[in-house]
Amino acid sequence: MSAKSKAINRELDGITISVYLALLLIGWLMIAATNTTFIDNENFSITELLLSKETMWFGVAIASFFACLIIDAKVWNSFAWIIYGIGIILLMGVLIFGADIKGARSWYNFLGYSFQPAEFAKLATSLGVAAFLSLSITAANDLRNTATFFGIVMLPVFFILLQPDAGSAITFLSFFIVFYRAGAPSIYYLIAFFMFFVLILSLMFQPIYVITGMSVLALGLLSINYKQPLLLISFSALSGLFALVFMINGYILVPFLLVLGSLIITAFYTGFKKKWNNVLFIGILLVFGSGLSVSSSWAYNNVLKPHQQDRINVWLNPEKCDPQGSLYNVNQSKIAIGSGGLYGKGFLNGEMTKLNYVPEQSTDFIVSTLGEEQGFIGVLGVLILFSILLIRIIVMAERANSTFVTYFAYAVFGFLFLQSFINIGMAMGFMPVIGIPLPFISKGGTSLVVVSLMIGILVKLDMVRRRV
């Protein structure tokens, strides 16, 4: 063994590489499992598996990973903008040259292999964003820079939405994590989360219930203006309880008016006695929240088409859905996962998935195969592997002595986290059904190679840090 390779081995992040290879192997076996349509294990052909396209992509992915370890680390920062540019050009090109599959142009097809530029764009944009944020002139809370940042992210999203491929576009939300790490004000995120929950609750319940709830909350929040907030907190808690009892019995208007009345009185009292600032802030939040609640509910009922409403209902109100219709996919997936039990039915023994009860099981619903054949232990194992990987990425991000590496690491973190969370959650009916692959595990060559490149580049960048 040469001295050089020995040095590399010592300085590479071994845990990351091991976890990466483990997830890759699990993915390869799961794809093999979904490809086997026969229930008898005897019909499972190892040669067929070894010669399959999945094995080829598996090989390409590992090769790309190790290539990244060899390629000079400086390349990525230097060529970030060029790679970003290539990504955008590929996205534009696919709209013209791409194959039309089910009304979407998301794939380049050549020689029987397909390539998904949206996946590549994830890597390209990550490099672009990291390069931009690592510029010395950049400060995240500067308006112009914020706009540029959003421009870099929104450009690929714009082209992806033209394909259209909402699933891939949604994964670009993960750049908000990068932006947060770069110093974006927390308050925006809090407001965003608040609005997000208001939106979800408004789609589940009538707006008047949501507004009543928010008013109770606002009443409680006003207590921060007082030295002894206990009285107000208990008052708001009591009024909340009171409203709840009324609501359960079907009377909403009475508690709504009472809660709103006491809120207004308390607000004016607090305003005159203390400060208007906090009162105004809470008031604005309440008004916007109420507006969002009413308008989202209105949009749901009047703008959305029935099949779009169904999408939402499958996630938030499954009891309203037709189990043989819109709920079918998620239901079958849940049954398959549930039937796995604690230990699973064993590799290649998952009847539900083997017999094609779960649609899209090799891509969007790959977890159903995992859940059915490997059981809770399998799902838990994969989640733990993802957690270890994500922790390692943050460790690498934080110990890096280049902001480029830090932000690139957070971009990788964001994609891996968001995709795995939505994909696994979706298969269990916990998240809305969005066509997002599970990194490493779902079928799809481009995704596999791109995440391999991401991890490979990151590990190499991390290794270089140590050498300095």
């Binding site: 539900m352 017999l355 009860y357 993802f386």
Partner: protein, 612 residues
């Protein structure tokens, strides 16, 4: 920098909280909520029942009594039916119209009963001819599957009551037994019910895995759990189909029953109840409900009533030979005893009618002419055996004998629901004549001596009495099944056992001589068949509601009895007129295998007689 550390902790914390919620959700789905596992099994696994073929039933001459006929069903799986099948051809082949086609396919998919991916019965009870034509084109109609089930069929139209009919298993049996599933057929009456366990066979099962289209993909565990159906055992009946059919023909237009027994074995040769029904009418099929309703609602003829074993009648004078045997055995009378008859029997100021006949110098003559006075006297002697004031001792003695003769209790026929008949006991009379100052006496009840009064027998018991006389003192419990295709089958030992009635052989000779005379020169002369020595006795059972019932019992030939028979015809008047000739014709048919020209007139007379 402090703020940055805070931020990456927040990011990581948020990420781990999200993943934890996924773990909790997975645990809920996979560990705590068992319904998903059950639902997976229900969707993927199908248990297909393989029905056994029910055992056949043959008559004593190996003629087929009951066999199985396939009926065809067409099942469909909605999700597999292609939209572009040739509906026109489909409907023409099955001889249905398009409305039926669309109506049968239009199920309520929202209900739990139907699913688009599981088979449902599209068309049932398809004619085999239509089906075989359709089957050639079956491959053109994806999503349709044939299914075959056997139903009981009969190559004749006889013995409906004996064989019984099949029906869908009812709720009570479903709850009590795990053998049956909803929709299974079970023997409801007759031999089908009695021998259900033998005839049924064992169902087989196949476990198959279905894919998302409901198609069979593979068998579970390579068929390790599968089981083949075991056919039911064939049964050999004691019935003689020809005799049974002939008897049914003779009983056309009459109400009543005929039972013939082979005395040496207790095997029932025929068991006829009239009016009867054609077992083919109650075949499981589309027209069954209508036929069943019609038979059930016929309250005048009550064709479902098995008069052979489920009706009880006063036996009339055929009881006299039995009484004689008992009286001789008890020593209260003797064959050469002379009892004067003036055309009536007088007790104090009461006169009990008899009829004109030559003097009854002994029991033979008394039986020949069926003298009532003679047997009033005899039954009084028996009941007053311990004195006039203790009739209950005498009656109990008599009843003990009657019990040995199989009266007042079920004989133990292998056919469900056999009626006991009625033998009045001292307790019964104590209740009937409930007067503390004047207890009942032999004179109150002496009409039982001539087979009237409270005494009631089933026709089966009467035929068994004939068999006892033929055997000179014992009988084999009558039965309808003598063997089985199943070699391990043994008929119940009780059917192999001689049941002695406790009468010494010497007492039979004078009684049988009386019966010979009754047929040769007496009341039963119309039963006389040239070349066969028949010993019999007529009875005329008084009926306060209308015309008397005509009774006759006999056995033949005298020295080597092959057949013992009882014929009971309701409202047919004098026993010698209708019942005796029917018995004669039956005996000739059985022994000679045909009706000789000499008997043709009698046959024509009986066939022409309509009493309904």
């Amino acid at each position: 920098m402090a703020k940055s550390i805070e931020r990456h902790t927040i990011i990581l914390g948020f990420c781990l909280i999200c993943f934890s919620s996924l773990i909790i959700k997975a645990a809920q789905l996979q560990i705590f909520d068992k319904t998903y596992a059950e639902r997976a099994e229900r969707t993927t696994l199908d248990k297909i029942t393989l029905y056994p073929s029910r055992g056949l039933i043959f008559d004593r001459n190996e003629k087929l009594l009951v066999f199985n006929n396939p009926i065809y069903e067409l099942k469909a799986i909605y999700s597999q039916i292609s939209a572009d099948i040739d509906t026109q051809l489909f409907c023409t082949l099955l001889e249905i119209d398009k409305e039926t086609f669309s109506k049968n396919l239009d199920k309520n998919w929202r209900s739990n009963r139907y699913s688009k991916s599981t088979p449902f019965v599209f068309l049932s009870k398809i004619d085999p001819e239509i089906f075989s034509r359709f089957q050639e084109y079956l491959h053109e109609f994806q999503g349709f599957y044939p299914s075959i089930r056997n139903i009981r069929s009969y190559p004749h139209s006889s013995a409906g009551h004996v064989l019984g009919y099949m029906g869908e298993v009812d709720q009570k049996i479903l709850t009590d037994s795990s053998t049956y599933q909803l929709g299974d057929y079970i023997g409801k009456t007759g031999l089908e019910k009695t021998y259900e366990n033998l005839l049924r066979g064992e169902k087989g099962h196949r476990f198959v895995l279905k894919d998302n289209f409901g198609r069979e993909v593979a068998s579970l565990d390579k068929g390790k759990l599968d089981s083949f159906p075991t056919s039911g055992s064939d049964l050999v009946s004691t019935l003689d189909l020809d005799l049974q059919a002939y008897g049914e023909e003779l009983m056309q237009g009459k109400r009543g029953s005929i039972i013939a027994i082979e005395p040496s074995t207790g095997e029932i040769l025929c068991m006829i109840s009239a009016p009867n029904y054609d077992p083919n009418d109650l075949k499981l099929g589309s027209q069954r409900g209508e036929a069943f309703k019609k038979l059930y609602q016929d309250s005048i003829n009550k064709p479902f009533l098995d008069r052979a074993i489920n009706a009880k009648y006063p036996p009339g004078s055929i009881f006299k030979p039995i009484l004689s045997l008992i009286a001789f055995q008890e020593g209260v009378s003797y064959p050469s005893k002379y009892v004067p008859c003036k055309g009536y029997y007088q007790y104090k100021t009461f006169k009990y009618k008899c009829h004109e006949h030559s003097p009854t110098g002994n029991v033979k003559i008394a039986l020949q002419h069926s003298c009532n006075s003679y047997f009033f006297s005899m039954v009084r002697d028996l009941i007053e055996i311990e004195g006039f004031d203790s009739p209950e001792i005498g009656l109990t003695k008599l009843n003990n004998y009657l019990d040995k003769f199989g009266l007042g209790r079920s004989l133990g026929l292998d056919h469900f629901n056999e009626t006991k008949g009625f033998v009045p006991t001292p307790a019964f009379y104590n209740k009937l004549y409930d007067d503390p100052y004047s207890r009942w006496k032999s004179t109150y009840i002496m009409s039982i001596g001539i087979g009237q009064g409270e005494l009631e027998l089933t026709t089966l018991q009467m035929a068994n009495l004939a068999a006892i006389l033929a055997n000179r003192g014992h009988y084999f419990t009558p039965h309808l099944i003598k063997g089985s295709g199943d070699l391990s089958f043994r008929i119940h030992p009780k059917y192999k056992r001689k049941n002695y009635v406790g009468i010494d052989l010497k007492h039979f000779e004078p009684v049988l001589e009386g019966m010979r005379r009754a047929v040769q020169y007496g009341t039963g002369f119309k039963a006389n068949v040239p070349g066969i020595e028949i010993l019999g006795k007529t009875g005329t059972s008084q009926n306060p509601f209308g015309e008397d019932h005509s009774v006759f019992f006999a056995f033949a030939p005298a020295d080597d009895p092959k057949i013992a028979i009882a014929v009971y015809v309701e409202n047919a008047g004098f026993g010698g007129d209708i019942a005796a000739p029917i018995a004669g014709l039956m005996i000739e048919k059985y022994i000679k295998g045909e009706t000789t020209p000499f008997m043709k007139n009698t046959e024509a007379f009986i066939l022409a007689k309509n009493l309904l």
